[in-house]
């Protein structure tokens, strides 16, 4: 009874704040936490995770300046391989291409490194306008199903779309309201979702759109600092509340389905989480940065 009342109150306040809330039994259930690199070396402040349907999990072990590639199968992680490169000192946002190649944003080099699946450097991806050393570089990026790279470039105030060879495909200007855009995600249809944690808003642009339009606002009524966004290709968006240690689950229409997890130290709780990845099997991976681990969760619907 009491929880029902809280749900009604939460829904009421969210509606007042302009967020649609959908009563839906969807949540994340903790399954496993990954603490080391398979050789006993602890993870340190991991800030990125990439996953796919082929059971590959790549972790940006940011504090140790390396990537760790795992296979996650049958509820356990195996075949851990660490990837170290001179160009890789502060790996953060990481993604897997359709060919299992790795793309990783290094926040110190301020560029996206393109690696083979084994971790050899293939090249760098960026705007190519000026030397990377003189620019702040990309804020975040994502890949679509064709492996086109969508680069969030706050300095140029645009989302730049390039192919893996760096050839420019198109650009979409960021909304012109002086927003603080920290992350984006691209769905299977090429639609882009752009996140502004300061205002608590999500903008979207369809595959052919020339500009972004407001999808939803008022997220800060439900999250302290909604700093990261990802999708699962099945109609759900996941917003990582970096300061609140939680995840908001939204529909691609912006309606909030649930808030899951919470702040803390023990398994199933998060402290200053960063990137999140959800694969087609409903397996979710979160870089639980301040807890020095990656948490693996299961999407329950």
């Amino acid at each position: 009874m009491s929880s029902n009342r809280h749900l009604i109150l939460a829904a009421g306040s969210a509606l007042l704040a302009g967020i649609a809330v959908v009563a839906s039994a969807v949540t994340l259930r903790p399954v496993l936490s990954v603490y080391d690199d398979g050789a006993g070396g602890p993870l340190r402040e991991p800030a990125g995770v990439a996953c796919n349907d082929a059971s590959v999990l790549v972790v940006s072990d940011t504090g140790n300046g390396r990537l760790v590639r795992y296979v996650y199968e049958g509820g356990s992680v195996k075949q851990a391989t660490q990837i170290r490169l001179p160009q890789l000192t502060s790996p953060r946002h990481v993604k897997l291409s359709s060919k299992d190649e790795i793309l990783v944003l290094d926040s110190k080099a301020r560029q996206i490194l393109h690696l083979t699946r084994e971790g050899a450097l293939k090249g760098t991806i960026g705007s190519g306008r000026r030397p990377a050393a003189a620019l702040p570089g990309p804020v975040s990026f994502d890949l679509d199903a064709r492996d086109n790279v969508y680069i969030l470039d706050a300095y140029s105030r645009q989302v730049l779309v390039v192919d893996l060879a760096g050839k420019r495909i198109r650009e979409i200007p960021l909304p012109g309201d002086g927003g603080v855009f920290t992350d984006l995600t691209v769905d299977a249809g090429g639609g882009i979702f752009l996140l502004d944690p300061a205002k608590g808003t999500i903008y979207s642009a369809s595959r052919e759109a020339q500009s972004f339009s407001l999808l939803t606002e008022g997220l800060r009524q439900r999250a302290s600092f909604p700093g990261r966004i990802t999708g699962d290709g099945r109609g759900l968006l996941y917003i990582v509340d970096e300061h609140g240690g939680a995840v908001l689950l939204l529909g691609t229409n912006g309606a909030v389905h649930a808030r899951s997890l919470g702040f803390g130290w023990t398994n199933g709780l998060l402290r200053w989480p960063s990137q999140m990845c959800v694969n087609g099997k409903g397996e979710a991976f979160i870089a639980d940065t301040a807890n020095n681990r990656v948490q693996i969760l299961e999407l329950i619907q």
Partner: protein, 427 residues
């Protein structure tokens, strides 16, 4: 029988007519007949002789002047203090309805809250508008920081000598923020003509008439010439506008010559290089506005040219942190005072949380020396029992931006906190 009925009906009609004619007349005359002369107010003063002093003041509230105490007070009994006929703000609103209209762009808090008597004496005053004190002194009773700044300013703004109401509406402003009668530059230009040669000369020939004057000038006075904010950017002080801006005769003279990051970096190369050498760049530096996201390039009240206080500037994005601090029962002084940079690297950091130094133990230890005499074991060798990948440090048990609980703890009492790790001690 029939005759008796007719007589009774006629008598009833006559009595009804008498009642209709007489009763209103009785009601109308009742008050005058029953109240003593001056009962609406004059008679009150026979007992309330302390009012002689109030009556001697030069500014009397109209009801008192007309000796109509009963305009506001109920002479017999009331549900409100001082026998007021209604709640104080409701009493005032009977005559003063439009003091703070709902459509106003900004409203003074006492006016919004119906606290009229914070500023006004409802009976009489030595000052106009029945103010409880001379206008400026009254404003400075609440706006103490501003009072201190005004008092220390070498170059005061003359209109302030005539009172704050020269520029501000004390109740509400329909068209401007901060209760201003008009927004800058319109308000400023009502006294300062932009058409004069001296105005143009002062601004190096740049067409600033449409710019917001208060971006550079402190309207309450300052210790800098021309009332620029107390911290002036060196090129502005040296009148070197062209170092950053196009020529005053250019098509867009107020445009800057390069992107902000590049432009600022020509002088502040070390600061930019230092930030770019870190593992994480603070988001504003990654944005097009870059340095201008947080700094005012001309002049500012805060060092180093911070736009507003750090609470305001950092709070533009980190409003959750500010809110947490404000609503916390136990507060952390650097966060309360807006000294975010006491603990955080604001441009870039090698620390994932932009903290200064490699360890929060060292950072906290720069103010708190508990770890030198009576601390729980902490440090690189002390494993956190909750998570084998963590070692114990100050943030294992404390929340640095305020907490609902004593000692900035994250849980409601010491037991709950300690039992996080010492489960075997639970009873």
């Amino acid at each position: 029988m029939k005759g008796a009925l007719v007589r009774t009906t006629a008598r009833a009609c006559f009595l009804g007519l008498v009642l209709i004619l007489v009763l209103p007349a009785r009601g109308q005359g009742q008050e005058d007949r029953r109240l003593k002369p001056g009962a609406k107010g004059q008679i009150c003063l026979e007992c309330h002789d302390a009012f002689q002093e109030k009556l001697a003041r030069p500014f009397l509230h109209t009801p008192l002047k007309n000796r109509e105490c009963s305009s506001c007070h109920n002479p017999h009994a009331a549900s409100h203090g001082n026998l007021l006929a209604a709640r104080p703000e409701q009493v005032c609103q009977r005559c003063h309805q439009d003091v703070a209209p709902e459509t106003a762009r900004s409203v003074h808090q006492p006016a919004r809250d119906g606290q009229c008597m914070t500023c006004h004496d409802p009976h009489s005053s030595n000052d106009r508008f029945n103010l409880v004190k001379p206008a400026s002194a009254l404003c400075f009773d609440c706006h103490k920081d501003l009072a201190a700044r005004v008092a220390s300013a070498k170059f005061p703004h003359k209109p302030l000598q005539d009172g704050c109401a020269t520029c501000h509406d004390p109740h509400a402003s329909s068209g401007a923020a901060r209760l201003l009668k008009r927004e800058a530059p319109g308000l400023c230009l009502s006294c300062h003509s932009a058409a004069t040669a001296s105005f143009s000369r002062s601004h190096m020939g740049y067409p600033v008439a449409q710019s917001r004057c208060t971006d550079c000038h402190d309207a309450h006075g300052s210790s800098q010439k021309a009332m620029l904010f107390d911290n002036v950017h060196s090129p502005v002080a040296k009148r070197m506008c062209r170092q950053c801006h196009e020529e005053p005769t250019a098509a867009n003279p107020l445009s800057i010559k390069k992107d902000a990051l590049e432009l600022c970096g020509t002088c502040h190369a070390a600061t930019v290089a230092d930030a770019f050498a870190k593992k994480s760049l603070h988001w504003p530096l990654a944005d097009r506005k870059s340095c201008l996201s947080c700094h005012n390039p001309h002049a500012a009240r805060q060092k180093p040219l911070i736009e507003g206080s750090m609470l305001e500037t950092c709070g533009k994005c980190h409003s959750d942190t500010m809110r947490r601090q404000q609503s916390s029962l136990v507060k952390h002084v650097p966060a309360t005072s807006g000294d975010c940079a006491a603990c955080h690297e604001v441009h870039g950091s090698d620390n994932a949380f932009y903290l200064k130094g490699a360890s929060n133990i060292e950072l906290c230890g720069s103010c708190h020396n508990y770890q030198h005499h009576s601390s729980h074991p902490i440090g690189e060798k002390v494993i956190d029992p909750r998570n084998g990948n963590l070692t114990l440090d100050c943030l294992s048990c404390h929340r640095s931006h305020g907490s609902e609980y004593q000692y900035l703890a994250p849980y409601d009492h010491t037991k709950a906190l300690c039992l996080q790790c010492h489960e075997q001690m639970a009873r």
